[in-house]
Amino acid sequence: MEPLDALVAFANFVLVPGAAYGAQLALGALGVTLIYGILRFSNFAHGDTMAFGTMAVILTTWGLQSAGIGFGPLPTALLALPVGIAACAVLVLLTDRAVYRFYRAKKAAPVIFVIASLGVMFVYNGLVRFIIGVDDQSFADGERFLISARDFKEMTGLEEGLAIKTTQGITVVVAVIVVVVLFWFLNRTRTGKSMRAYSDNEDLALLSGINPERVVVYTWLIVAALATIAGTLYGLDKSFKPFTYFQLLLPIFAAAIVGGLGSPLGAIAGGFVIAFAEVTITYPLKKVLGYLMPEALEPDGLVQLLSTDYKFAVSFVILIIVLLFRPTGLFAGKSV
C-alpha cells in the first residue's frame, strides 16, 4: 500500500484534468446563466459562440506566429485573446441587433427566443465551418509542462509522477481572474448592479431609470468575453474542433442547471461538479486502487466505471438527481 502514490496518481489523472475541465465548463456555464438571467432564455447558440470566438483567436494566433511574435513560455493564443473577444463581441452584438432585439420589442415569449437561438446556432455553426473547416486544429505553443512527470518523480522520489500541463495551469489561473473580475463587476459597479436589478425585476428596473438596451449590450459583451475565453482555454487544453464545441452545450447546460439557472455562483459550482464527476467516473481507477489496496485485493480489471464515451451520461444523471431532489439547483433563489 502506498497511499501517497495513490494520492498523486489520483491528482494526476483526476484532480488536475478535472479542475481544468471544471474551470472551462464554469466559464461556459456563466455565459449561459447570464443570458438566462437577463434575456430570459437558454442560448442554444452558446457552444457555437464559443467556437467562433476560439476560431478568431486561432486565426490571430497563426497571424502572430507567422509574424514571429510569441509569448515566451506561454501560449501565443493568450496574446490573441483580446482580438478574439472583440471579434466575438462584434458578432453577438450584430446578432442581437439583427435577431433578438426585434423579439424584445415585440415582448416575445422566451421560447420564441430559444427557437431564434436555434437559427443563430445553425448560422454560427455554418460560419465557423465555412471559415476554418471541420477539422481538428491544435494551436497550443510555448512550454508544454509546468511540472513534468519525470521532474516530479525526481523531486519527490515517489514512484508515481504528477504532470501539470501549462494549459491546465493557465486555465485555472485565467478562470480565477475572470471570475473575480466578473463578480467584482456584478457586485461592486453601478452597471453590474443595474444588470442584477434588471434580471431581478424588469419593471422596477425601468422605473428606476435603468436602460434595458444598455443592460443587454453589456450582457452580450460579457458573454462574448466569457465564451471566447472558455473556448480558447478548452481548445488549448484539448484541441479545437467545431463539432466538439457544439457538443459542449450539454455539459454546460447541465452545469448551469445543477448550479441553479441564473445564479453565477451556481454556474461555477455546477461546472466543477459536472467536470469532476465526468472525469472520476470515466477514468480507469485501477492505478489508484492498486496503490491503496493490499496486493491480494488489487483489481485485475481497469476499474473504469463507464467508458469515456458515456461522459454525457454522467453529467446527465447528476443533472437528473439534482433536479429530482432540489429542482431549483444547488444555489436556488438567487438570480444574476
Binding site: 435577431v99 448560422v123 455554418g126 458515456y310
Partner: protein, 430 residues
C-alpha cells in the same frame, strides 16, 4: 386545405418535378423518399410542440431507437452468439432493471436512511450488473467479430420493425416524460437533449447489440432488389415499353415502391392526427395549451396529457427512424448528429407552421429538398464567385471547399427569416 396550402404544395411538387427533369428522376425520388420520412418526423415533433408546447430537442435519439429496432427485428439471427452470451446479457439487463425498481421501491417505502439505502442498492447493483454483463458481452463479441460480433436480430419481416421502432421510442419517451414532466417545473428540453446523446453513445459503444460503429449493413428490404428485377423478363418487358433501360428502370421502380410504402404510412398518420385534433381529445389538448390554469381548474390532468402526447409524438418519430434505416438498408450510429436529426426537424416544423399537420408535412418536404440541393447550388455559387480568381489561389480553393458548409448557414437563415416575418410558419394553424 385552403388556397394557400394548395399553392405551396404545388410549389414543392414543382421543385421535385423540376429536379427530375434537370438532374434525374433517380435523384428526385431519392430526395422525395427521404422527404416522406422527414415529413413523418416533423409530424411527430409537431404533435409535441404544436399541440402541447413540449420542446423536444432529443429527436435524434428517437430516430436512432427506431433504427435499432430495425436491426433487432429484421437482421439475421446469430444463434451462436446468443448461446454464448445471450443469457448472461439478458440476466444482466434484468438485474439492472431490478436494481432500479428496488431503488425506487426503497425510496418510496423506507422512511429513515432511505438516501443511504438507495445509494447502496444502486452502487451494489451497478457492480453486479457489470459483473454479469461484461463476460456475456465479451462472449458475444468474440463470435465472428469481423462480420457479426453481436446478438443479431429476430429475422422477422422488416416491415414489422416500423411499429416496433415506434414502441421502443415510446418506451424511452415514457421514462423521460415520467421524470422530466413530473418535476415541479418541467425540464424536458435538457432531459431530451441529454437522453439523445446517451442513446447515440450506447449505440456506438455497445457492440454486442448492433455492432456499434462497425455498423450493421445489408438489412433485409421490404421491396425487391434491383438485380432481381433486372433478371426478371416480365419487368424488362414493361420497362422497355416505357423506353427505359432495365438498370435505370429497376432503381426507379425500387424507389417508387419505397415511396408507396412510406406514402401510405404518412397518409394514415395524417388522417389519424387530423381526426385526433378534431376529436374531444384534440379540443382538450388545445384547451390545455391555450390556458393551462383554466384546464387544470376544470379537472384536466395536464401532466398526464403532456406525457401522453410526448409519448405519441416520440413514437411517430421512432417509426420514421425505423423507416429511414430500412430505406438505407444499414445502421450507422456514427452518422447521427443533432444538427441533422434534431434541429433540422425543428426547422421543418417552424417553417411549415407550428400546430398545423399539413404545415409540418410541407416543411418536411421543402426543407429536406433545400438541405439536399443547397450543396450543389452552393458549389455553383462558389464557382461563380471564384471564376475571376487565379487558379490555384488559396482563397479560391478554400471557398470551393467551404461550399459544402453552405447548408447549415442556409438552414439557419431560413429559420430566422420565417420566424421573424411569418412567425406562425408558411401554413399557419387556423
Amino acid at each position: 386545405m385552403n388556397m394557400r396550402a394548395i399553392l405551396l404544395f404545388a410549389f414543392v411538387a414543382l421543385l421535385f418535378i423540376g429536379t427530375g427533369f434537370v438532374q434525374s428522376w433517380n435523384v428526385a425520388l431519392t430526395i422525395f423518399n427521404m422527404g416522406l420520412i422527414s415529413a413523418i418526423m416533423a409530424l411527430g415533433v409537431n404533435m409535441q410542440w404544436g399541440y402541447a408546447g413540449l420542446f423536444n430537442v432529443g429527436v435524434m435519439g428517437f430516430v436512432a431507437l427506431g433504427g435499432l429496432a430495425t436491426v433487432l427485428v429484421a437482421s439475421v439471427p446469430n444463434t451462436e452468439a446468443l448461446s454464448a452470451g445471450g443469457l448472461r446479457i439478458a440476466a444482466a439487463l434484468a438485474l439492472g432493471g431490478a436494481t432500479i425498481l428496488a431503488a425506487i421501491l426503497a425510496w418510496t417505502r423506507l422512511r429513515r436512511y432511505r438516501g443511504w439505502v438507495v445509494a447502496a442498492i444502486l452502487f451494489a447493483g451497478f457492480f453486479l450488473f457489470r459483473a454479469v454483463l461484461d463476460p456475456g458481452v465479451a462472449a458475444v463479441e468474440a463470435v465472428n467479430p469481423a462480420r457479426a460480433g453481436n446478438i443479431g436480430g429476430l429475422g422477422l419481416p422488416v416491415l414489422l420493425a416500423w411499429p416496433v421502432g415506434g414502441l421502443l421510442a415510446a418506451g424511452a419517451a415514457w421514462i423521460i416524460g415520467k421524470t422530466a414532466l413530473g418535476l415541479r417545473s418541467d425540464y424536458l428540453a435538457i432531459a431530451t437533449l441529454g437522453i439523445a446523446e446517451i442513446i447515440i453513445a450506447v449505440l456506438k459503444n455497445e457492440d454486442w447489440m448492433a455492432r456499434g460503429v462497425k455498423n450493421v449493413i445489408g438489412l433485409p428490404r421490404p421491396v425487391p432488389y434491383e438485380v432481381d428485377l433486372q433478371a426478371s423478363p416480365a419487368f424488362r418487358e414493361v420497362v422497355t415499353e416505357f423506353g427505359m433501360d432495365p438498370v435505370t428502370g429497376s432503381t426507379i421502380a425500387v424507389k417508387l415502391a419505397y415511396a408507396g410504402l412510406f406514402g401510405v404510412v404518412l397518409l394514415v398518420l395524417i388522417w389519424l392526427t387530423q381526426a385526433a385534433l378534431a376529436s374531444p381529445w384534440g379540443r382538450m389538448m388545445r384547451a390545455i395549451r391555450d390556458n393551462e390554469v383554466a384546464a387544470e381548474a376544470m379537472g384536466k390532468d395536464v401532466t398526464r396529457r403532456h406525457l401522453q402526447i410526448f409519448i405519441l409524438g416520440s413514437a411517430v418519430v421512432g417509426m420514421a427512424g425505423a423507416m429511414m434505416t430500412t430505406l438505407d438498408g444499414q445502421l450507422t450510429p456514427g452518422t447521427y448528429q443533432p444538427l441533422r436529426y434534431t434541429f433540422l426537424i425543428w426547422v421543418m416544423v417552424i417553417v411549415g407552421g407550428s400546430g398545423n399537420n399539413w404545415g409540418a408535412v410541407l416543411g418536411g418536404f421543402l426543407v429536406w429538398w433545400l438541405w439536399v440541393q443547397v450543396e450543389p447550388l452552393g458549389a455553383l455559387l462558389m464557382q461563380g464567385i471564384t471564376a475571376g480568381m487565379a487558379d490555384g489561389s488559396w482563397l479560391k480553393a478554400h471557398l470551393q471547399d467551404a461550399a459544402a458548409h453552405m447548408r447549415l448557414l442556409t438552414m439557419g437563415l431560413v429559420l430566422l427569416l420565417v420566424l421573424r416575418f411569418s412567425p406562425r410558419g408558411l401554413l399557419p394553424e387556423k
